[in-house]
């Protein structure tokens, strides 16, 4: 038994050591809005190929990252889906300048295969489905802290469907989770980011159609380096504004700053 206990102790020691050694690698951690899940992963890969430097990406809702950065989270760069979060951080002195607009997002109505709902961006079919009572569950991101949830709410209000739909909503913690819910087959559909709908992973999971951009405030997505940013983060920040990066954003359906 003694041998067993001492080998157990040795095992724990070996397991615990990496925890101590962790600070050596210094790839910056970058907080990014969930709608960038696929576009930014592709960008980061290209960046590593071209420069040999790596960045670590953490995806989530812009509002949650905003709170975490205020609480002292060690992110070196923040790509928000809503520029007002970046402006607020700047006011609190947590960023290096006001950052830069990197993309403008769009939203789509997405329906899973076999749904009774048509993928119709004008939301006319959604309106008649609601009247017919065939909508049981509908997914959007949480409007409280996810910019894409706010845009979805605004679009539904513009279409005059919010009140009818409100008690049928399933709220994703961020827009990626909303996309998960919307395409799961347990909902009749949902409103998600165009950039997610265009990813190869989702193309197989549902049909979608663009919702008119005038139906919600523009999803002006701004990024900024935080006060903790090092050299690699600064390089990545510049890379996200390079022509190569713009091509990737375009591929994922983003409207680019300075373009129509």
């Amino acid at each position: 038994m003694k041998r067993f206990l001492s080998s157990l102790a040795a095992l724990f020691l070996v397991l615990a050591l990496p925890g101590l050694a962790r600070a050596q690698e210094n790839a910056p951690v970058i907080a990014a809005a969930s709608d960038l899940q696929f576009a930014l992963s592709e960008l980061a890969e290209q960046f590593t190929k071209e420069t040999g430097k790596t960045v670590k990406l953490s995806f989530g809702s812009s509002g949650n990252f905003f709170n975490q950065i205020k609480e002292g989270a060690p992110f070196e760069m923040y790509l928000s889906a809503d520029e007002s979060y970046v402006f607020d951080l700047t006011k609190e002195g947590l960023t290096q300048g006001e950052g830069a607009l990197y993309a403008v997002g769009r939203i789509v109505l997405i329906v899973p295969p076999g749904s009774t709902l048509k993928a119709d961006g004008s939301l006319k079919d959604l309106a008649s489905a609601l009247k017919a009572g065939t909508i049981k569950k509908f997914a959007i991101a949480n409007p409280e802290h996810a910019p894409y949830g706010r845009a979805a709410r605004a679009a539904l209000k513009t279409a005059g469907l919010w009140d009818m739909l409100e008690d049928k909503l399933v709220l994703g913690e961020n827009v990626s989770q909303a996309a998960q819910f919307a395409t799961s087959g347990s909902t009749q559909g949902g409103i998600i980011a165009y950039s997610l709908a265009l990813s190869p992973k989702l193309l197989a999971l549902g049909k979608f159609d663009l919702i008119p951009a005038e139906w919600h405030d523009p999803l002006r997505q701004r990024m900024a380096l935080t006060k903790k940013a090092g050299e690699t983060a600064k390089m990545f920040y510049a890379y996200v504004q390079s022509p190569a990066a713009r091509a990737v954003f375009k591929k994922y359906g983003f409207v680019l700053p300075g373009e129509k």
Binding site: L8, F12, L15, G19, F59, G72, A73, F75, K201, L205
Partner: protein
């Protein structure tokens, strides 16, 4: 498969167990043999993480360890960085979350040691330190082993608290449970499925081993 997240979870489990074991032994032993007013209150407080929703616990930890709390500020002044969203913060949170998993099995094990055995030891002139090493620990070891296994596997699976105080930072606070959640959101069901299966197998093997060992002890 996110090996970094797995490594991080194993490291977190090891730190939690390493720090909790001495605490568990002394607190468990104290609770087993002492009687005092308010003992029930102490036991209830230590058992609280069993029933408290992890998000509630995580919320309080976030508030009390955050950069705006006195404790968080003191830590930052001493070590140059904050406690939330760091591995150290996770270790601290994990210790608190696992208190009942470490203390309760040990307390039961110490309670099961007959008082005559300890009296005999005392009559033979054993110091309390030698009594602990020679008599109490060997008799209580199956309880200790259960405590180790429970707090280790529970740490591997802990999600809510890590999500609140961790912030899902790769290589720092993104544990395997968070990585599974993350992969599901990235529509990467293959990785998520693999990691979930690994966690299931790991949990089953550890808990199975501890049952097998304690059964052998009971029979032998």
């Amino acid at each position: 498969m996110d090996w970094e997240a797995l490594r991080l979870s194993l490291a977190l489990g090891a730190w939690t167990v390493g720090i909790l074991m001495p605490i568990g032994i002394f607190v468990g032993r104290w609770l087993a043999w002492s009687h005092f007013r308010g003992k029930g209150l102490v036991e209830a407080l230590l058992a609280l993480p069993l029933v408290l929703p992890p998000t509630v616990l995580g919320y309080y930890l976030l508030v009390s360890m955050g950069t705006r709390s006195p404790f968080g500020q003191a830590f930052e002044a001493a070590f140059g960085h904050g406690l939330v969203f760091t591995f150290e913060g996770l270790v601290l949170a994990s210790i608190l979350v696992n208190l009942p998993f470490a203390i309760q099995p040990m307390q039961r094990a110490f309670e099961a040691i007959p008082v005559e055995v300890r009296e005999a030891g005392a009559c033979s002139g054993l110091s309390s330190w030698r009594m602990l090493i020679r008599i109490e620990l060997p008799l209580a070891w199956s309880g200790i082993l259960t405590a180790i296994v429970l707090s280790f596997t529970h740490t591997l699976g802990e999600f809510g608290v890590v999500l609140m105080v961790g912030g899902s930072i790769p290589g720092e606070t993104k544990t395997i449970a968070i990585a599974i959640y993350d992969r599901v959101q990235a529509f990467d069901t293959e990785s998520a499925g693999m990691m979930a299966a690994l966690l299931l197998a790991l949990s089953f093997v550890t808990i199975g081993t501890s049952y097998a060992l304690s059964n052998r002890k009971r029979q032998g």
